[in-house]
């Protein structure tokens, strides 16, 4: 194949196909791009926070949809009965030919009860369950259409009314920071003046450091990116945690229609960077969607997988998941270990049966002699 052939067969996008030694695989990213656009993207976002922090409004604002059309908000009396629920809603958004299958996992009931001791075990179980399912699919026979329902990102809503993180916030974030990318968000930020907002952000960052919570860190811009992008990344990194306001109502302000909240003393504009960090949050989410997925795959999922398989190796007979057909895709070393363990367990069982038999015999003898000699 001569360089010339390759060059002319691909729409002439490359500079200098006549260069000797030119192969043309620089076209690869475009091919990947085209394929992924056709395939579409999947993203799962989890939102956690007490009721009334504006989570649903924010999600609707972020994606300009109404994810919760018929919502009934329960009163305090009804809330007593509820434990934390997991509600996943999926919506397909398409923009300029790119399809995004977005799943938002909501957690109503979190932090509502008087005693919130156990409110996050349900959530952690859900996250683990998605990992488990993926592991099962990945190790299965038919791997073509694996659906990725793993949680790629978790927005944790912090109340702007407190002085920082509450004990529940700290405990929850510590429990999930090794399983999912945690992005802390300050909700209803229009409660705060600018100074209060800065103070709260600093306080939260200090407390996150103090408790060793690992939140999601934006990757630094590569050195070959342009200055604008580097600047943008710098600004984003400096604004964490994002203080946001959500709204889907159109208000008339300064002659134009904006999305915002109308107060007697002014209008809070959702998309005004001086009013709140909504745009920054949206930018971060969109430009780093890929990175969030990668970190979920490479870090959290791999952690889960290695933990699971290590554990699974010791509990062989109790239904742990290994490849359905042992011959394909599994480590021969692990297979051997497995067989050895199975043998050992079988031996143990036999020995236990023997001991039980002996004990029964001794009991019978004891009864016969009239004194219960038990060992």
């Amino acid at each position: 194949m001569t360089p010339g052939d390759k060059g002319s067969s691909c729409q002439g996008q490359f500079t200098n196909p006549e260069t000797p030694g030119y192969v043309g695989f620089a076209n690869l990213p475009n091919q990947v791009h085209r394929k992924s656009v056709k395939k579409g993207f999947e993203f799962t976002l989890m939102v956690v926070g007490e009721s009334g922090l504006g989570k649903s409004t924010l999600i609707n604002s972020l994606f300009l949809t109404d994810l919760y059309p018929e919502r009934i908000i329960p009163g305090a009396a009804e809330k007593i009965e509820r434990t934390v629920q997991i509600e996943a809603s999926t919506v397909e958004i398409e923009e300029r030919g790119v399809k995004l299958r977005l799943t938002v996992v909501d957690t109503p009931g979190y932090g509502d009860a008087i005693n919130s001791q156990d409110c996050f075990s349900t959530i952690i179980a859900y996250i683990d369950d998605q990992f488990e399912r993926y592991l099962h699919d990945e190790s299965g026979l038919n791997r073509r259409h694996i659906v990725d329902n793993r949680v790629h990102c978790c927005f944790y809503f912090i109340s702007p009314l407190g002085h920082g993180l509450k004990p529940l916030d700290v405990q929850f974030m510590k429990a999930i920071h090794n399983k999912v990318n945690v992005v802390p968000v300050i909700a209803k930020a229009d409660t705060l003046t600018l100074r209060e907002r800065e103070r709260l952000k600093r306080r939260i960052l200090d407390e996150i450091d103090e408790h060793g919570i690992k939140i999601y860190h934006l990757p630094d811009a590569e050195s070959d990116e342009d200055e604008d992008f580097k600047e943008q990344t710098r600004i984003l990194k400096a604004s964490i945690p994002f203080a946001v306001v959500g709204s889907n109502q159109q208000i008339e302000a300064k002659g134009k229609k904006v999305r915002g909240r109308l107060y007697p003393w002014g209008v809070v504009e959702v998309e005004n960077p001086e009013h709140n960090d909504f745009l920054k949050l949206r930018t971060m989410l969109i430009t780093h969607m890929q990175d969030l997925q990668e970190v979920t795959q490479d870090l959290h999922y791999e952690n889960f997988r290695s933990e699971r398989l290590k554990r699974g190796g010791r509990l062989s007979s109790h239904g742990y998941i290994l490849p359905l057909s042992p011959a394909k895709g599994s480590d021969p070393e692990e297979m051997d270990k497995d067989m050895i363990l199975q043998e050992k367990e079988a031996e143990l069982r036999r020995m236990q049966e023997m001991i039980a038999k002996m004990q029964a015999q001794m009991q019978k003898q004891g009864e016969g002699d009239g004194d219960g000699q038990h060992m």
Binding site: G75, A76, G162, H163, D190, T193, Y263, W265
Partner: protein, 363 residues
């Protein structure tokens, strides 16, 4: 005992009720004294049991006022709510002085207390020659833990302890002329402005304590709600309070007469008040106002279009301050006292020195 001795005592009904009396705030003299109905100052003529000349009975109001000004009076207000709801700021704004230490000044070392603490701080403030010993009772740690079960117990205990203290003083043989009143006259309960509904903790607290102390629920940091959201939220909260059977102050059952009832009805319709507190001043339209400055405008604390702080202040301080004390004394305290006396078949030696047994026959 209450600092103002009523000049005449109306016959008390079987159910404890507020005795009405002539106080410095009322504008009229009871008609039993004469057909002249209003004002200080004499009238020579009139029908019925007219007085033939000016006696000067109406100067009793002046005398009482002078006395009150000399002795001053106590007012104890308790603030309850999760941390960060602006309790201290609101109290400072209400009384226009730094009477409460703001917890936003907490440094790293001062963590949220593990259990509910009770902190009472007193200040003497003066206005127009009238001295008031104001005690603000703060409850840091309320509602801040992960497990908030029974977090109202320390508060309930404190309130009952104050009643107990007063009771002990009252049954003493050698009583003080003026028993120091540390009973909680009013409890401001701060509701978190979620915009959805009351939280479980809110209803539980108010259920347990509305029979023991006057509870005034307020919606804290209400600049987070737009006007529609605020009205909706208020309706929801009122409905929930009704369903749970929570009687907040002013309680319907203690309305004396029609006038009271109509006044209080108007107030009850407007409660819970949605307030914003601030101790900073800003320039708005050439005036200096207390408020909060944001990039999109200044929230004026005393502007009735912005929030209901002015209403709360007028209600709490300018019209119902004395009434709060009376309801506490005549109803909540009496209920406690009756229960105490009935429970142990009389007062047991709670105080070692006083021979309270001899008092029993008088009681």
């Amino acid at each position: 005992m209450s600092e103002i001795v009523p000049p005449e005592v109306r016959p008390k009904p079987a159910v404890p009720a507020k005795p009405s009396h002539v106080g410095p705030s009322s504008t009229g003299i009871p008609s039993a004294l004469g057909s002249q109905g209003s004002g200080v100052g004499g009238h020579g003529s009139g029908g019925g049991s007219a007085l033939l000349g000016y006696i000067g009975i109406d100067t009793i109001i002046e005398q009482m006022r002078k006395k009150t000004m000399k002795t001053g009076f106590d007012f104890n207000i308790m603030v309850v709510g999760s941390s960060g709801l602006g309790k201290s700021t609101l109290v400072n704004t209400l009384f226009k002085s730094q009477v409460s230490r703001k917890s936003s000044g907490w440094s790293r070392d001062e963590k949220i207390p593990k259990t509910v603490e009770i902190k009472a701080v007193s200040h003497v403030i003066e206005e127009g020659g009238v001295k008031m010993k104001l005690t603000v009772i703060d409850t840091p740690g309320f509602g801040d833990q992960i497990n908030n079960e029974n977090c109202w117990e320390p508060i309930s205990k404190y309130i009952n302890e104050q009643y107990e203290k007063f009771l002990k003083e009252e049954v003493n043989i050698a009583r003080k002329k003026r028993i120091p009143d540390t009973r909680v006259h009013c409890c401001l309960y701060f509701i978190c402005p979620t915009g959805h509904s009351l939280r479980q903790l809110d209803t539980e607290f108010m259920k347990h304590l509305s029979r023991v102390v006057n509870i005034i629920p307020v919606i804290a940091k209400s600049d987070t709600l737009t006007v529609e959201e605020k009205n909706e939220f208020k309706q929801k909260v009122r409905k929930e309070l009704e369903i749970s059977g929570i009687e907040f102050y002013p309680q319907k059952e203690f309305d004396e007469d029609l006038e009271d009832k109509s006044d209080n009805d108007k107030i009850r319709e407007a409660m819970p008040f949605a307030v914003v507190g601030s101790d900073k001043e800003y320039q708005v339209n050439g005036k200096r106002v207390l408020g909060r400055k944001t990039p999109w405008g200044v929230v004026e604390v005393e502007n009735p279009n912005h929030c209901e702080f002015a209403q709360l202040r007028d209600f709490l301080i300018r019209s119902h301050l004395q009434d709060l004390k009376e309801v506490t004394h005549n109803i909540h305290y009496e209920t406690y006292r009756a229960k105490r006396l009935n429970d142990n078949g009389g007062l047991h030696p709670i105080s070692s020195a006083t021979p309270s047994d001899t008092q029993e026959s008088n009681l």
